[in-house]
């Protein structure tokens, strides 16, 4: 935690009919912090973000925003802004009209509209109808709409969805600046690289329950044994060494995957992997590359939410390996 709690949830429960969307969720987000919300589809991320934005009320538990309790029938504070399930724009209106409407409805001056558009790089299309905008432009306009309100708590659902790498970096930079200015930012994302780049702490949800909450480094450490791809000067010799190495399991790589072609895929802890590399060097096998098949953060996520996810994650290290134990 880097400061006073801007968001504090304890034992939050929410159900829709027989479906339990959230089950005993705790959440702490400090002012000035970017907090990531991870979880497979249907894990309860959108419901939790919806609670923070006042779209619905919890069935049980307590929620405080900026020190104020939020109960059934009471609205969230003015300084909370953001979007869930898309930025919610009107295609028949221009970008400027969309933002002006938000400013009007929330009692803000329209003077900030141009600045918000400039901040997300949309000033030159301010008077174009949103109908013609790409997905990435819509995401950025949605972000501008939230920034317009100068929020102390910013809640965003997949803010980098549809953005190209440059756009994603721009959004990351805007959110980092906002957090540096003292705002608490809560983002959900399927993109591990975005979470790694942005968030200091994360909460992982699975089937409505928090399965991890804490610093992102600690999440990476949860990964335990990881699959690694080794490229060496002699793959057959390397395989023989690996089979004999303690704590190392040799997996069958997926020949259909280009990175696995001609490589040795093993599962091992960090210590066992280091031992394997030393044995290879002693055996005269040159090690050209050692790379995780799945990034540690993603591996930890998959381990924590095993059996819950129904869609692929997109991470810096590519997709999940399909290694098969010998």
């Amino acid at each position: 935690m880097t400061g006073t709690a801007a968001v504090r949830a304890r034992g939050v429960r929410k159900h829709f009919g027989d479906v339990v969307a959230l089950d005993g969720v705790d959440l702490d987000v400090a002012a000035g912090q970017v907090h990531g919300l991870l979880g497979p589809n249907g894990a309860g991320k959108t419901t939790l973000l919806g609670l923070l934005l006042g779209l619905t009320a919890a069935d049980a538990g307590t929620l405080e925003l900026l020190g104020r309790p939020v109960r059934r029938g009471s609205a969230v504070p003015d300084e909370v802004a953001g979007f869930v399930d898309g930025p919610g724009l009107y295609p028949q209106l221009t970008a400027r009209q969309n933002l002006a409407a938000v400013a009007d409805l929330r009692g803000h001056s329209r003077a900030g509209v141009v600045a918000a558009l400039e901040e997300v790089g949309l000033a030159d299309v301010a008077d174009d109808r949103v109908r013609g905008f790409s997905l990435g432009m819509r995401q950025r306009l949605g972000l501008a709409s939230a920034l317009l309100l100068r929020p102390q708590v910013l809640v965003l659902d997949e803010p980098a969805n549809g953005l190209d790498p440059a756009g994603a970096r721009q959004v990351q930079s805007v959110l980092a600046a906002l957090a540096a200015g003292g705002a608490a930012v809560v983002v959900s994302s399927h993109r591990m690289d975005d979470v790694t780049a942005l968030c200091e702490e994360v909460t992982v949800l699975a089937a409505g329950r928090p399965v991890f909450s804490g610093p992102i480094e600690k999440l990476a450490a949860e990964s335990g044994e990881l699959e690694h791809r080794l490229r060496t000067s002699d793959t057959d010799a390397a395989r023989r060494v690996a089979v004999a190495a303690p704590g190392v399991r040799v997996l069958r790589g997926d020949p259909a995957r280009r990175p696995d072609a001609g490589a040795l895929v093993v599962r091992a802890s960090t210590a066992a992997l280091e031992g394997l590399v030393a044995r290879l060097v002693q055996a005269g096998v040159a090690v050209r590359e050692v790379a995780p098949v799945v990034a540690p953060l993603e591996a930890a996520f998959l381990a924590l939410t095993e059996g819950q996810h129904d869609g692929p994650l997109v991470g810096a290290a590519g997709g999940r390996g399909t290694g098969e134990s010998r």
Partner: protein, 448 residues
């Protein structure tokens, strides 16, 4: 790091919310096309039809379109009441909430406005405003078209009496105002459908489907209390303004029923809307619960209004009896005979001098003399001043269940004449060859 500050929370201003909803509605190409069509269409239609030799005599006042500009507006009003106004409520109110479902903007809107109740109010008010503007455009356009094409002249009422241009102007405008009540009722049903049925096209079409259903129901020989308690009854009752005295009871009851439906359906829609869970992405209306939470309450409302009308204006049967028909026909004939006399430049005669009476029979004694049908046959008798002979003429009446009838002269030809008469200023419709009339369904009746 900034300090966390608790600040007061307030929903968006109602006025700003209303302006935003209006902006969204008017930015839609559909609204713009509707406004253009409503502003131009009636004027073109009335101007074109008024100059034709064949006029829409099956519509009330249609036969007078070539004589006065006020009649064209009433023909448009009549047509609007059947189809156009319910269709407009479908397109505007019936889509007011569903459009947010389609665009996926509910969560954004709720977080910005932060009061579902206020959001509902601003949306309903904006839809009502657009509908009112469209109705005003229809009225203004039809009046402009008629007055420019034909001019402002006397209008023949539904009991044959003449309205001066000033009276006609006031009564026509009042008739347009009256139909705003059932339009509000249909708009409220549209809002209800839009809230309850989500993206389903049934929600969008609900007012149009209701209009179609009511059109079919209106054809049935229903008890008069049921007929007047229908939410669209004022779509017909405005015609009572064009008799002397005006048929105010069905008119006021119709307006009242329309407003009750408007308030009740709006309240039900609001009740459903503010309880919606906006985080439920899969939410798309009530689905199978529509029957219990929408149809059943509306059926109960209908039962209550039927009971209310029955208490407010006790009447039995279909409201169409021999005595009422005879009185109405005799009155109309006297007024129209006097009009014909004037057109033919004959010496003026008063209704009192004519002492007109009518004797009607339905179905030639095979059926009871009550209810709608095209088998009414009436003999009209009158006294010609200065003559001992009593004039008489036979009329075949086609009486519809809503109280309107068309009296078609069945001879003798010497009395009824032809469909046109030659006046000092040119040919004009023969007022007693064929004419429209209106029975007051809630007037005291004597059966048989």
């Amino acid at each position: 790091m900034s300090a966390v500050v608790a600040v007061p929370t307030r929903p968006a201003s109602a006025l700003r919310g209303y302006r935003f909803e209006l902006l969204k509605l008017t930015a839609q190409w559909r609204t713009r096309v509707l406004l253009l069509v409503c502003a131009v269409g009636p004027a073109v239609f009335v101007a074109a039809v008024s100059r034709q030799s064949t006029l829409p005599t099956d519509t009330v006042f249609g036969r007078w379109m070539g004589q006065t500009g006020w009649a064209g507006s009433l023909v448009v009003l009549s047509f609007c009441c059947s189809w156009i106004l319910p269709l407009l409520t479908s397109l505007v109110a019936g889509d007011a909430f569903a459009v947010e479902d389609r665009l996926g903007t509910w969560r954004h809107l709720v977080t910005v406005v932060r009061s579902p109740g206020r959001l509902f109010a601003t949306k309903a008010l904006a839809a009502a405003t657009v509908l009112a503007v469209l109705a005003v455009a229809l009225a203004a356009s039809s009046l402009v078209g008629g007055l420019l094409a034909v001019g402002s002249h006397e209008l023949v009422g539904l009991d044959g009496h003449l309205l001066t241009p000033g009276q006609a102007a006031g009564t026509v405008l009042l008739a347009w105002a009256v139909v705003l009540a059932p339009t509000c009722a249909f708009a409220a049903v549209g809002l209800l459908g839009s809230v309850a049925l989500g993206r389903s096209p049934t929600g969008l079409l609900l007012p149009a489907l209701l209009a179609l259903l009511l059109q079919l129901v209106q054809l049935l020989p229903l008890p008069v209390a049921v007929r007047v308690a229908l939410p669209g009854s004022a779509f017909l009752a405005w015609r009572g303004l064009f008799t002397t005295p005006a048929q105010t009871t069905p008119l006021l009851l119709g307006v009242g029923v329309g407003l009750v439906w408007a308030v009740a359906a709006t309240a039900l829609a609001r009740h459903l809307f503010v309880r919606r869970d906006f985080t439920d992405v899969a939410s798309d209306g009530l689905g199978g619960r529509v029957l219990l939470r929408v149809v059943l309450p509306l059926a109960a409302l209908f039962a209550v209004t039927v009971a209310g009308v029955a208490v407010a204006a006790p009447a039995s049967g279909a409201g169409i009896g021999r005595e009422q028909l005879q009185t109405s026909l005799a009155t109309s004939y006297a007024h129209l005979y006097r009009l014909q006399t004037r057109e033919l430049a004959r010496p003026d005669v008063t209704e009192a001098q004519l002492r007109t009476s009518a004797t009607c029979d339905k179905g030639g004694g095979l059926v009871a003399d009550t209810g709608p049908g095209n088998d009414w046959r009436c003999v009209v008798s009158w006294h010609i001043p200065g003559a001992t002979a009593v004039g008489s003429a036979v009329y075949q009446l086609d009486v519809t269940a809503d109280g309107r009838y068309v009296a078609d002269g069945d001879g003798p030809q010497a009395v009824n004449g032809f469909f046109q008469v030659r006046t000092p200023t040119g040919d004009a419709p023969n007022p007693i060859w064929q004419f429209d009339g209106l029975v007051d369904l809630l007037a005291p009746t004597t059966k048989g």
